[in-house]
C-alpha cells in the first residue's frame, strides 16, 4: 500500500478507530496500530478499506478484551475508564465528559453502532455487515441509542 494513502487513512480514521476499540479493550492504540500494520502487509488491499479496518479493529479488540479478562488486569481496565474518549473543546455545544459518561452507559450493541456510524462514517449497510445483523436492526439500534443519549445528556428536543 502507498504510504501516502496510509497516512491519509491514519489522519482521517485513526481517532474513530481508537474510539471504536475503546468499547471493548483498555489498550485501543495497540489494536488500531496492529490493524494498520495488517493493512500495510496485505498483498492485495481490500476493496473497502475503512470497513475492513473497523472489522479488524473489532475482532482484535474483542480478542484483547478476552485476554485482559483472563489476566485480570483490572488496573488497566480502570485506567481506560478514566481516559478521555473525545477531545475536549469548550466551544462545542455538548460536553465531552458528559457524552463519554452517557455513551459508556449504553449497551454495547448500541454503542458500537453509534460509534461506527457517527464518528467512523460507515453507512448502515456497512455497520450491519460489521456487527453481523441486518441493516434495519442496525438502524433501530442507532436510533434507540441516540435517543437514550439525548435523554441522559439532558438535551431538550426543540
Amino acid at each position: 500500500m502507498d504510504p501516502t494513502l496510509l497516512g491519509r487513512l491514519i489522519d482521517g480514521h485513526a481517532a474513530a478507530l481508537v474510539l471504536y476499540a475503546r468499547q471493548w479493550c483498555a489498550a485501543p492504540e495497540d489494536v488500531v496500530q496492529d490493524a494498520f500494520l495488517k493493512l500495510m502487509v496485505q498483498a492485495r488491499p481490500p476493496e473497502q478499506v475503512v470497513p475492513w479496518l473497523f472489522r479488524v479493529v473489532r475482532n482484535r479488540a474483542i480478542s484483547v478484551a478476552r485476554s485482559e479478562r483472563r489476566r485480570q488486569r483490572h488496573e488497566a481496565f480502570a485506567a481506560s475508564r478514566t481516559a478521555p474518549w473525545f477531545a475536549a473543546d469548550p466551544g462545542k455545544e455538548l460536553d465531552a465528559q458528559t457524552l463519554r459518561a452517557a455513551l459508556g452507559e449504553l449497551p454495547l450493541e448500541q454503542r458500537e453502532v453509534i460509534v461506527a456510524h457517527l464518528w467512523g462514517g460507515l453507512t448502515f449497510e456497512q455497520v450491519a455487515g460489521l456487527v453481523g445483523c441486518s441493516t434495519s436492526m442496525a438502524y433501530r439500534r442507532y436510533v434507540a441509542g441516540v435517543s437514550v443519549l439525548r435523554d441522559r445528556m439532558g438535551v431538550v428536543p426543540c
Binding site: I10, V18, P28, V143, P157
Partner: protein
Amino acid sequence: MLNHTPDPALNGFTRGLADLAPDPGGLDRDRLLFRAGGALLTRRLRRWQAVAGLLAVAVLSLGAALVFRPTRTVEQVVYVSVPLFLPIPPEEPGTAETPSFSPGRAEPGPLLRAEPNGFRLRQQVLLFGVEALPAPHPWSGPAPAAVPLEKLLGIPIESLDRASTLHLSNRLNSGEKQ
C-alpha cells in the same frame, strides 16, 4: 445516509455529537508510519527468503535424485553386423578337441576326420550353411621328390652308357611312354 432519522430534533442532536472529535489517545502517527514501513520491508524480505528457501529445497531434491536415482533397465533391439565367415582361431595341439568315439553315437562326418578343427567346421556348417565354408584351395604342398633313374630301372647306372642315360631321362621327364 449519515445522521438521517425521521426525527429532525434527533438529527440535530446527532450532528452535535458528530462535531465532537474522538480522542486519538496515545496513537503516534509517525511511529505508526515507521512501523508500517518496517513491516512492509519485513514482508518483502520474508518473500525473498521463502523464494530462496524453495529454490534451495528444489536444488537439494534434484541433487539427491541425481545421486540416488535407481538404475533402469532399458530393453531395446540392437542390430549387430556379424561377418559371414567366423575366423577360426588356430588351435594349439594340446588343446584341440578330439572327438571321442562312443558306441551308439553317430560316426563323425568326413570334415571332422579330414581337418583337426573339423568339429568347428561342422558347427559352422550347422549355423551358417554349406555356403559359409571357405572355397577349397588348390594343392599347395611340396613337390614330390625326384626319383633317381637307376631306382626306376632297377639296374645300376654304370651299366648304361651316357647316350642311353640322357635319352631315358628325356623320355621320363617328357612323360612319353615306352
